[in-house]
Every structure is written in C-alpha cells, then in structure tokens.
C-alpha cells in the first residue's frame, strides 16, 4: 500500500471537518473502551498475565532466527511449504506463482494486514485471480473501490450504517436495507457463494506456534474458518515476528488478545491449523503455504525499537488514544494507525516518509497502560523523535526555536530577562481581559482555543520582591 503518511496534517484536518466520521468515532470509542474495562476484570491476575505475555514474546525476539527455523521444521514436517518474502512485491510474486501452479481463479481472503502492506488484491487481479475479501468490514471496503481500512480489527469503524446501506444498494443492486442484521445477511449470502467456489484461501496468522508448526487464527465471523477449510489451497501470510513457543503460550495470549481487542473473554473462533488434509479427511486444504514476511521487521530486531515487535495487533492502543479517537485511522496514511502505527510506519516505510506520526501523540501513555504485551509506546515515539532530530529531519524553524529556547533556559539571566519581557507583552496583548483570542506567536494554539493571559509578573520577580520586604 502506498503511504500517505507524509500528508498527516492535511489528512487529520479533513477528518476533523468530516461530521459523519466524527459521529462514528464517538460511537465506537465508548464501546471499545467500556467493553475492555469490563472484560479484563474477569482475569484474576491481569497484570501478571500481561507480564507473562511480554516475557514470552521477548523470549522469541531474542532468538528469532532459531525460533523461525524451529517453526519451519515443524510446519514442513506436517506437510506445509514455508516461503519467505523480503517485501510486499515478493509476497505478491509468491501468491501469483502458487495461483499459477494450482490453476487458481478465485481467492477468498480473511483479514490480513500484511496483504494491505503488499497491496495484494491489486496484484492478484493483475494476474487474473479474483480476490474476495470476506471479513464483513474488509468486504465493505473492497466493494467501495478498495478503500483502505481505518482500524486493524474494525476496518470500517469510520463508516455509518447509512453509508453501508447506500453501498450495498448500489453494488448488490438490491432494495436498500437499513437494519444491520439484514445487511449482514445480505453480505453472508453474497460471500457464501464465493466461499463455495473459491479454490484458494488466503489468511493472515495471529500466531505461529513453533512447538507444533501451527498457525493460530482468531476470528468472530467464521470467515477465517471458511477460508482455511473449504478451498483446496490455503496460503498464510504473516510477519516473521509472529512466532510463539508453545500451545501454553497461545493459551496465555488468548486471555489477553480478545479482551484487549473487542472486550470479549474469547473470540468466537480460535483455530489452530497444522499441515494439510489427510487423504481420508472429508474437508480441509490439500496444499498449505506459509509466506513469512520481513518487509522491515528484520531491521527492527536488535534495535532500540525491538519491543515494538511484541505487538499482537489487538488495537487497544488506538481504541484508547485521544488522537486516534479524534481523527480516526485514515489520517495516519498507511496500514497501521494509532500509536502502534505511529511507531511501525516510520520503521517500515522510512523515518523521512512519516515525519509527523511520532509527534502526533500527547504522550499521555494511555496506550502503554492498556497494551497487553506492555510495549512502552510513548518511549518508542520519543525515541523516533530523537532519531529525527539526529538526522536533521525536523523543520529548521522548529529546530531553531527549540535550540534558542534551550539556550535561554540554560542561562538563568537570559531566562529571567526573556520571561520579564514575555509576560508583560502577553499581558499587554490581553488588554485587561482574561484571555487572548489570537496569538501570532502560537497560531496553532489559538486556532481552536484562547490563550489565557499571564498574571503580568513572573514568580521569580514576585518572590524576590517578597524576600526584599522586611
């Protein structure tokens, strides 16, 4: 997917000016936040479980090469073929080759963010394979001219019921339906036909279990099961960081992932799939391929950002982020929005291509507090800012102001002098009123709020005056 992250400010401004989006984001926010808060109370030792999950994810990352080899050995022993992809283009090439080998005409897909990274749908169409997204949200986006998702687990969180109703009426050529169950049934019927006629299923993978060479898929709709049960070929596309050691670790993570993502104790379907169908089995794929993808991940290993690779893609960080809640996911401009996206996008697409993202956070740390694998997201955002500074990627004006400010703050005399003038100037600007409506020195501030007037003298002056009195 082509990144639009360099246009973050314009994207965000458009999001703020879109009343439908604003209403949809308000609805979604309450549901995600409240449901999670209830669900985590079911776990006696939620903090201990988070810590355990952090440790087990770290264990893998610290020896990722060997865990990948272990997974590869065990998956291959069960009849799977393991392929490797350096980037999105190589993912597309692998899938096209598999399609050609098995004479594939139609591929049904359950949600895969890596497929978004690669722009796989367009590539499949170009090779004559019809891709069909089957997650309801992803399907809605696909029939809306391949619109990108705005959330990693709720792809159409930005859309209203009305917008979906209009779209179905237009695309399905059916009478307009306004009830969510009726729209869901309509999509079910359209997609059921595709499930039954597709010869390839493409899925992501929530986890790769090294112990057994299995992929774990977590879904609610059942489309993940369809895609991995009915077609004769199943292709799993997943990042190299998704390996976990054991089935016990899967059990631990499954106490965290659904609760953090959707506020569920467990997702409706957790499928653990290993190898290909036995000759006497009545269903299941005859061919199973894993495409293990780098696309920027390998370079994060061993770096100060390695902790980011613990991410299990639950979306809690964005659900709880005041910035995401305000502008939605599209503004971030690439596959992953919210705090995790603001870390991943510059790491995977280049620091200079997502210059605003690490700054588009108040560092309130709500994301760090809710992260089920304890990724210190604000710290990582701050480190990215430091990298930008080191590479002189920030606007020169901003750098100049910061340097000047730091220079002044380091000198008590200069600082006192600057403060003396500054507060008097602001007080004069306020003209006896309690606040200043337009401040040319801080236009971004006064765009949306007043600037409260200072008292008129600094604390240091007043304190000195008080000390001077007998």
């Amino acid at each position: 997917m082509e990144s639009r992250s360099h246009r973050f400010k314009e994207n965000a401004a458009a999001a703020l000016a879109n009343p439908v989006l604003q209403a949809n984001m308000r609805t979604a926010k309450g549901k995600f936040v409240d449901k999670r808060a209830i669900a985590i109370k079911e776990i006696d030792d939620f903090e201990g479980t988070r810590e355990a999950a952090k440790q087990l994810r770290n264990l893998v990352l610290e020896n990722l090469d060997l865990w990948l080899e272990k997974f590869e050995t065990n998956a291959t022993a069960r009849g799977a073929k393991v392929l490797w992809a350096k980037d999105g283009a190589e993912i597309c090439r692998h899938v096209a080759e598999i399609g050609k080998r098995h004479g594939i005409k139609k591929a049904v897909k359950s949600k895969s963010m890596l497929s978004e990274e690669a722009g796989l749908n367009q590539a499949l169409e170009a090779t004559g394979i019809q891709p069909v997204e089957t997650d309801l949200g992803e399907y809605i986006l696909q029939i809306n001219n391949n619109e990108p998702p705005s959330h990693i687990i709720a792809p159409v969180v930005h859309k209203s019921l009305d917008e979906v109703a209009d779209l179905f009426e237009k695309v399905h050529q059916t009478p307009r339906k306004t009830e969510i169950p009726a729209l869901t049934r309509e999509a079910r019927e359209v997609l059921r036909e595709h499930f039954l006629t597709a010869d390839m299923g493409i899925s992501g993978g929530n986890f790769l279990v090294a112990e057994t060479g299995s992929v774990a898929l977590v879904t609610n709709e059942g489309n993940g099961r369809m895609v991995t049960t009915l077609p004769r070929v199943h292709v799993v596309i997943t990042g190299i960081e998704k390996v976990i050691p054991t089935l016990e670790d899967l059990a631990t993570l499954m106490r965290l992932l659904p609760r953090s993502a959707t506020g569920q104790s467990i997702s409706n379907y957790v499928s653990v799939l290993t190898g290909t169908k036995a000759p006497d089995e009545l269903d299941g794929p005859e061919h199973l391929y894993y495409i293990l993808v780098d696309n920027g991940r390998a370079d994060v290993i061993g770096s100060e950002f390695q902790e980011m690779l613990r991410c299990i893609r639950c979306g809690a960080c964005m659900n709880h982020c005041p910035v995401y809640q305000t502008i939605g996911g599209h503004a971030y401009g690439w596959v992953y929005p919210g705090p995790m996206g603001s870390v991943l996008t510059p790491l995977y697409t280049g620091l200079e291509n997502a210059i605003d993202l690490p700054h588009a956070a108040t560092l309130c740390n709500q994301c760090g507090v809710v992260c089920p694998v304890k990724i210190p997201l604000p710290d990582l955002l701050r480190k990215l800012r430091e990298k930008q500074t080191d590479k002189n990627l920030r606007p020169w004006m901003e750098r100049a102001v910061l340097k000047a400010w730091a220079f002044v703050a380091a000198s008590p005399t200069l600082y006192a002098l600057g403060a003396w003038f500054g507060v008097r100037y602001l007080k004069w600007l306020a003209g006896g009123k309690a606040s200043i409506p337009v401040l040319s020195a801080a236009p971004e501030w006064t765009k949306g709020r007043d600037f409260p007037a200072p008292e008129g003298k600094t604390f240091r002056e007043l304190y000195a005056e008080r000390k001077a009195k007998p």
Binding site: T326, R382, R385, W445, R449, D450, E455
Partner: protein
C-alpha cells in the same frame, strides 16, 4: 525537613500565585521551603522533542540546583515525573551524572503526593467553598500514581463538594509541544474534556498541572464559558 521548590516554568510565567500557594502548603506541613533562584525549566520540552543534548544540559542544571535538599517538590505531576523518572534515561551515557540523577530521583515529589504521603499535612490553610471536578493529568496519573492524593486533600475541606466527571483520566489534549504542533487536534480533544467537565456543573475544574489547566481554560473560554473557574489544586487548598 528542607524542601526545594521546583516552581516550573509555566507557573513562573503564567500563574505565580500557584507557586506561592505551594509554599504556603509546604510551610503549613512544617517544611522549610527553599526556592533556588537560578531554576528555569526541567527540560521536558527538549526531551519530548527528541533533543537529548538540550535535555541533558537542563537536567544537569536542575540536579546541581536541587541535589542538596531532603526533598524536591513541584506543583506539577508532569515536571516531577520528568525529573524523577526520565533524568536517569537522559543521562544514561554519563555514569557520574547518572549516579546523581539516580540519587535525586527518589527525593522528587509532585505536590499533593508529597503533602499526603510524606509531609502528612493534616490541617489545610484554605477554606474553599463550592463544587469542583478533578482532571487527572496523564503523567502524574500513570507515572506517579497521582489519583487519591488530591482527592484526599479536597476531602479535608468541609465546604468543597467533589463531582467526578466522565472520563476524568482521559487526556485533555495538551501534550506540551503537541498543542502547538497539532493545534486543531489538540483543541478537539480539549473540547471533549471540557464537555465532560462542564456536564458536572461544578463551580471549578481543578487539576495539578498548569499546562492542562491552561489548555482547558483556553478551550472553555473559546466555547463561551466564562463562568466555570479553572484552578490549580494548590489554589483551592489555600483559598481565602
């Protein structure tokens, strides 16, 4: 005990009365309060902007000014958190300074935390009358555990009624330099905070961090609310 007051640059520039209120509270708790005259800023804006060199320079300055006290108290969770929890990271590559930062760290407190848990202040010098709603600022809440302390102090004032707002723990949208880099997003977040706060119909919105309070006050006034007062907790606790 000798307490060094870290005034914070925002209080110095914008609301000196908060600094004097902090002194009054600390003295009421029996502390000897010293205000080092050369202090300026803790360096948080530099650190959060990715300028490690400037952040380190200012960290060393603060350490030199404050390392001689029994305690360092700031009327801000954000600045206290920065000095207490970030200085060791900032100075990680300079062993001598790192040792100084580590030695200073446990002595640094946010004002209400210090008054409740260290100085154990019993009798407050003020007598504020009215209803208030309390905004939990993020750094204090998440990094220093400031939640019960200001409420415990407010509960000591017989004529104060606390009316909790929805989502009191949600960010107000200030975020330091975020507020001037992404003004429209920042103001939109502030609007949610103000709406939640005003819905309580409290006489005053109270908090422990001036940055958040200026953000909230600025947004309230822009929304046309001239009535609701926006006060630092130290002002409430010392109100005459």
């Amino acid at each position: 005990m000798r307490v060094g007051l870290f005034v914070t640059c925002l209080v110095d520039l914008m609301r000196p009365r908060i600094g004097f209120a902090a002194i009054e509270l600390l003295e009421a708790a029996g502390c000897e309060v010293i205000v080092p005259a050369t202090q300026t800023c803790c360096g948080q804006p530099a650190w959060n902007s990715g300028d490690r060199a400037s952040a380190a320079k200012l960290a060393k300055k603060v350490i030199a000014e404050f390392e001689g006290f029994d305690y360092v108290v700031a009327p801000s969770g954000s600045c206290a958190d920065h000095i207490r929890n970030e200085y060791p990271s900032i100075l990680a590559d300079e062993p001598e300074w790192l040792a100084c930062a580590a030695a200073l760290s446990p002595k640094v407190f946010e004002l209400t935390d210090f008054l409740v848990n260290v100085a154990k202040l019993e009798n407050l010098p003020g007598h504020f009358s009215g209803s208030v709603t309390y905004h939990d600022s993020c750094a204090g809440l998440h990094s220093l555990g400031i939640k019960a302390q200001p409420r415990a102090l407010l509960a000591k004032l017989p004529d104060v009624r606390l009316k909790e707002m929805n989502a009191a723990e949600e960010c107000c949208g200030f975020g330091g330099t975020f507020s001037v880099k992404f003004g429209d997003i920042s103001a939109a977040i502030a609007e949610r905070k103000c709406t939640n706060a005003v819905a309580t119909e409290a006489d005053a919105i109270v908090g422990g961090d001036l940055g958040c309070l200026l953000n909230i006050e600025g947004k309230l006034r822009r929304m046309g609310d001239e009535e609701t007062r926006v006060l630092h907790i130290a002002e409430v606790l010392t109100a005459k």
